[in-house]
Amino acid sequence: MGRKTIFGYMGQILRVDLSEKRSWNEELDEETFQKYVGGVCLGAKYLSEEVPQGVEWSSPENRLILVTGPLAGTRVSGSGTFCAVGKGPMTNMATSSQANGFFGAFLRFSGFDGLIIQGRASSPTLLLIHNSKVEFRDASHLVGKDTLETEDAIKLELGLGRKLSVYAIGPAGENLVRFACLVGDGGHVVAHNGLGAILGSKNLKAIAVHRGEFRPPIKDNNRLSTLAKKLLQDAKNFNNGRLYKWGTNGVFPAAVKGGFLPIKNYTTNVFEDYEKLTPQYTRTHFEIRPRPCWACGLHHVHHVRVTEGRYEGLEGEEPEFECVNAWGPLIGNHDPGALVMLSNLTDRMGLDVNESGWTIAWVIECFERGLLTKRETEGLEMTWGNVEEISKLIKKIAHREGFGDILAQGVRYASEQIGGEAAKLAVYTQKGNTPRGHDHRARWSELLDTCLSDTGTIEATFGPLRPDLLGQPPVENQFSPEEVPRISAMVSGWHQFEDCLGVCRFCIKNPFLTVQCVEAVTGWKMDLDYAMTVGRRAINLLRIFNLRHGLRREMERPSPRYGSVPVDGPVKGKGIMAEWDKLVENYYSHMGWDPKTGKPLPKTLQVLGLDHLIHDL
């Protein structure tokens, strides 16, 4: 390409304007990569610079920014990941969501570190990227197909099979369901804050990337090889090897006993007869086989075939922990075969499983209490565990049919529309998004993070607080209004840095080895402080974007049900709202933000090299 080599990078971003059916390459210099690294931080820079106040999520001026990072497409396990950034429909503020599979690696092999999509196509379009070339193809014949049908049809049409990575929207994205997602590589999902609806609003049915001939330049291949092996071994051993042995659902039995399983829309913390939903049961009774992502030796993702019960013979992706929660305890279902059915249906329709679960669980609770009747549900018997009726409602949401049209706006909007007692029962944040599929009332750090995050999902945390992984003392009290925000702020930045790298979080559990991998790839001198600074830069960029787009402190709260007091289980009687203001103000302070407004202080922005944004405040 005749450019100066930047180790760890392809050195350019692909820009696509759908309105003009035009694309071009934009080169980036090494200084920019050193500052923003990739993924969420580079995406936040573009979002902040290119989507001004007043641009709505569905506007052609909104951006869909897909960025990899310096580890994508390398020998590091799980390095097919990419990060998607844009202004999302659920919050009408910034969003950042990651997906694994192959896309991130293939985008690099096609010559790009990232892809920015703007404008709106005049007709349904398939974007094909092939060895640095771009084609705008007609996708009219794909309209109405579900996400997996779309992927299969494109692969068949192009004859590229496994050498092609496809991410597509389903009926939900086409119909602008606000929690539509983007599904690709056989069931991986860009889940949160409605990124699939952004594609729908742009008339973009799918993006396909060919496994091209380019490869990212690596500064020290031998060092990377040694480190990648250590990192994989560490990931396999992490938490006594539970993820490696049992997948993400390995946490399920602990969630049952620990009180962080979401059960029947937060009406209880007790879930009996749960054993068949554990991976210890499903992975030894159903037929399963690994279905690893790019270069992944951890292969936590599996294909499953149901071998017993009502759904015997059904095949699809093994439900991950989030799917198990949404379509298990949250809706009162105990049948693992039904879990496979509902999880795969949700993916095929192109719906975020978290928002879908919270929305339908709310409908069921309202129905059981008589706040909704068959008149509103159009004949559906919405009782706990009635999986066949639930599957019908999922399809109605994706196609925005009848009652499904109200629900397609998400549970906050739907509950406000129904009003009265029903409005008090929905689980969401006052920004408009819903939490992951956990009962966060037993895990305050993640409840705080979900409400204060600027991504439309978690930002500072990922499961329990793990300061020990960063070389810091462990948490003494998980319900302390001083300790929880202090340690949350201390670790804040690490997970955002992970999302800059183009690699799956499950494969990089050791921060010190991870940073060394980036050093080996890029040749830069890097340490944990450098990494944390990049992560905090991303957080502050997104926060300032959100402040411009209407964020106010009163939005950083849970809904009444989300912040309610558990009536039973391990944290019975302990409510977070009594401490809420203290938690928020302490977190703001520790983040270097104004403790009353949550706005970053000038000094904080200066330290992060974001001086140019001070005038925004």
Partner: protein, 106 residues
């Protein structure tokens, strides 16, 4: 000399496997006998005792400090100990403890 016996449920349920049960998962239940225990026994003392049990130590204790891992949960008679007195919570004969080796992510 007194002996304090505590039933410990090691969190997640195992033994549900249809084929090839994984023996490396360790015990599901354990009776821990502590000679010379005084009448007042705390969770903190229990945690220090775990270092004498290789499998439990690996699961629950930080490698260097031998402190309880930050991602572990302990329930005493069904209640999270952080809602009681944390590591200083007192344990008495007949109490039921659940130790949960927390797992990240999901």
């Amino acid at each position: 000399m007194s002996i304090l016996e505590i039933d410990i449920s090691v969190g997640p349920v195992f033994g549900l496997e249809k084929r090839s049960p994984d023996r490396t998962e360790g015990p599901r239940h354990l009776k821990l006998s502590i000679p010379n225990a005084s009448q007042v026994y705390t969770v903190r003392k229990l945690v220090s005792e775990l270092s004498n049990h290789e499998h439990l130590a690996e699961m629950f204790l930080d490698g260097k400090a031998r402190a309880l891992k930050g991602n572990a949960i302990i329930l005493l008679n069904g209640t999270h100990i952080d809602l009681l007195s944390g590591l200083d919570t007192q344990i008495r004969v007949g109490d039921r403890l659940v130790l949960i080796p927390f797992i990240d992510g999901g």
